[in-house]
Amino acid sequence: MESSAKVDVPAVDMRGIVKRFPGVLANDHVDLTVYEGEVHALLGENGAGKSTLMNILSGLYQPDEGEIRVRGERVSFGSPKDAIRQGIGMIHQHFMLVPSFSVAENIMLGMDEPRFLLDPQKIEGTVRELSERYNLDVDPSSKIWQLSVGEQQRVEVLKMLYRGATILIMDEPTAVLTPQEVEDLFQTLRGMAKSGHTIIFISHKLDEVLAIADRITVLRRGRLEAAGVEASSVTKKELAHLMVGREVLFRIEKKPAKAGEVVMEVEDLQAEDDKGLPALKGVSLQVRSGEILGLAGVAGNGQRELAQAICGLRPVMGGVVRVHGKEVTNAAPVVLIKEGVAYIPEDRHGVGSVPNLSVAENLALRNYRWPPIGNGWRINRVALRKQAVELVQTFDIVTPSIDTPSRLLSGGNLQKMILARELSGDPRVVIAVHPTRGLDVGATEAVHRLLLQERDQGAGVLLISEDLDEILSLADRIAVIYEGQIMSVVDAEDADIEELGLQMAGTRVGAGAEKGEA
């Protein structure tokens, strides 16, 4: 590599790392070299082995083969504590914070000091100092559950800095943030790198990686594809090729929508979440035939509850749900199936499929009651298998056989199976919740194509996703949900990422905005 200032001894040097899990080779002789003071991106699709590699570096897993050097010294970590002692701290995708504890309590958790007596004031003072030094604004005495996701992430960073971590691993840190919060995070990371910290940034988002990283290492299926290439010397296309192993189309071919009459609407919908707190506070939406309505929002703002309330899986406390003008509020799911509502749930294993039933049986879960499969109280196995063979072919589901239990399918094929079941009956309304979460690029493309196909055939699609890019590329109209309320509905052509991001964070913008909010 070019320029000079880098020290010769890398901060982290991992060589020939191998990690096996039952049935999976998660890391296959992977190398990673990270220099002091750089932001190093670890890029790869889901299941490429990024998190496994970093869990090894942070002491959570032990490698089966290979060696790790930190600042030239050979190390072996028995637990995360050993890694922290060497200055390596990992910030997990799911925050490792105790919700009922204060910020200060979370930060001192697991420390050797104090030995016995807790002194919250003293810790809070130290935390306050740290947060000022690194410009990470958070109140040390507030409880974690009171904080926004962005603030919680700051607590995680502070927690590691407090432990003297100089090498910070961040596992997909932007997945839960709004675009503005991402910008704040990047500023913090750059500042920390400048002051000598080393940052390893795990991601599968190409734009992000190119925006923040100095150098990039790419993994695919547990193997090293590219080691420490300069971010300035690669293009997005090249990176995508390295990550996926083939050419990727970034644009989805999309015909203009021919929106018709309203097929599904909710009016002033109210529902509670699992804790019994209000999750939907008067949501009104209309989905028309032949269009995709994208619902954007940060996780946990009522998306899940909305989908469940529409599909009869969560009690509606107030308001109305109509399908084709017919009221179906609190109707049983079977009524909705009869009305032609297809539901692609977020939880594929628990709600979307019965893991121990065969692929053929799973494919029939929607229409087994009626001929040709259902025949009074009997199931016509021949018809059931015939349907399965057809659907497996049409939807390109890769499975050893139609008798294979669905739990053995890969994520992408499981999702294709669910789509095959839900979409094959020619639905009039499709409710899709995070339909591509955790899927690889190929399966994602397939899912997108199928959703567009339904739209073109005249179904109304409600697409709920946290991936703003997905919504922007698929949706014809975009609604933003925040704390159980719809912030706005706009045509996709008029949508502005900046504005959507602000709304996702709870700021009303545009016409009729409230007075001066940042």
Binding site: I84, V98, D274, K275
Partner: protein, 325 residues
């Protein structure tokens, strides 16, 4: 002093004494549950502690040795539950229930020769100098067996450990969000074992204090559901030792009403008739089971648990690599 004052002083003094075993058991269960392990075997551990303490005291003539052995056996017994629910990641409700049944059966066998024993040595009772002379309060709190006084000391100690010390913080973290604790190098399973053991030792102490001081005799199932009361009180006390103490003494008073106070003075609204009514006995005997039902109803509803402030990971085994809560 008026009749009324004597009457209520006597009730409360009796309540403090008879609530003491429940207090130990409740505090023990607070520790176990704060670390995330629900132990429904309190009744069984208490019975084992009770029978061991009584038998050792009877055979050796040394009640202190009896107390020590009772505590120890209660602790050992709890390790069974720890093994099933922590190491083997079994269902905590089933394992705890099993522990209660095993404890009941085993204590009945061990206690068989003790049924007619009336003269086993007891732990000493004494008045606390000066404090015992305070009017009313002295009679209620400071004229008791030594186990009652140890109970007084245990309550603030338990509160302090839970809320003001590093081990307490770690214990609560393990009960609230074990994945977070694990990521910071805290040994989740080790701590859970420790606090299940603490719960068992205290349940053993509860049983021992019963047969060595409060009800100094052995009959089959001598605890009469007090272990269940303890499990229920933990919830109503919101996992807090001071409120647990209040609940224990209150329960003790209620339980003693029909025994001690047949001669209640004439009270307004004919309350004395209720207190003198022998049927009240049946009502108080029913309480443990009412409590048990309440515990199971609350325990099975996640929303309700959250509202009451239960440790978030209560009842769920921790497996590394699985997503938190």
């Amino acid at each position: 002093m008026s009749d009324y004052l004597i009457f209520f002083t006597t009730i409360l003094a009796a309540g403090v004494a008879s609530g003491t075993p429940v207090l130990y058991a409740t505090i023990g269960e607070v520790f176990s549950e704060r670390a995330g392990v629900l132990n429904l075997g309190v009744e069984g551990m208490m019975l084992m502690g009770a029978v061991t303490a009584f038998r050792v005291s009877h055979v050796t003539g040394n009640p202190w040795l009896g107390l020590a052995m009772g505590i120890l056996v209660g602790g050992l017994f709890s390790l069974l539950h720890a093994l099933v629910s922590i190491t083997l990641r079994g269902d905590q409700v089933v394992s705890g229930l099993a522990l209660t049944f095993v404890g009941f059966g085993m204590s009945s066998v061990i206690g068989w020769p003790l049924i007619d024993v009336r003269d086993a040595p007891r732990l000493p009772a004494f008045d606390i100098p000066l404090l015992a002379d305070i009017p009313v309060l002295g009679k209620i709190f400071f004229q008791h067996s030594v186990v009652v006084y140890i109970g007084f000391l245990l309550v603030p100690l338990a509160w302090f450990i839970i809320n003001r010390t590093r081990p307490g913080l770690h214990m609560r973290a393990v009960g609230e969000y074990p994945a977070a604790a694990d990521a910071l190098g805290i040994h989740v399973d080790r701590l859970r074992y420790l606090y299940v053991l603490v719960g068992g030792l205290l349940a053993g102490m509860a049983g021992a204090s019963l047969t060595l001081a409060i009800t100094p005799l052995w009959i089959e199932g001598v605890t009469a559901g007090q272990g269940w009361i303890a499990v229920g009180l933990v919830i109503f006390a919101g996992w807090d030792p001071f409120r647990a103490a209040f609940g224990s003494y209150l329960f003790g008073a209620i339980r003693r009403l029909p025994l001690d106070l047949q001669g209640a003075p004439v009270l307004p609204w004919n309350l004395h008739l209720i207190l003198r009514d022998p049927l009240l006995n049946y009502f108080t005997n029913m309480l443990p089971y009412l409590f048990t039902i309440a515990v199971l109803v609350i325990g099975s509803r996640e929303a309700m648990r959250k509202k009451l402030g239960a440790p978030a990971a209560l009842g769920t085994p921790y497996i590394r690599g699985e997503r938190g809560v």
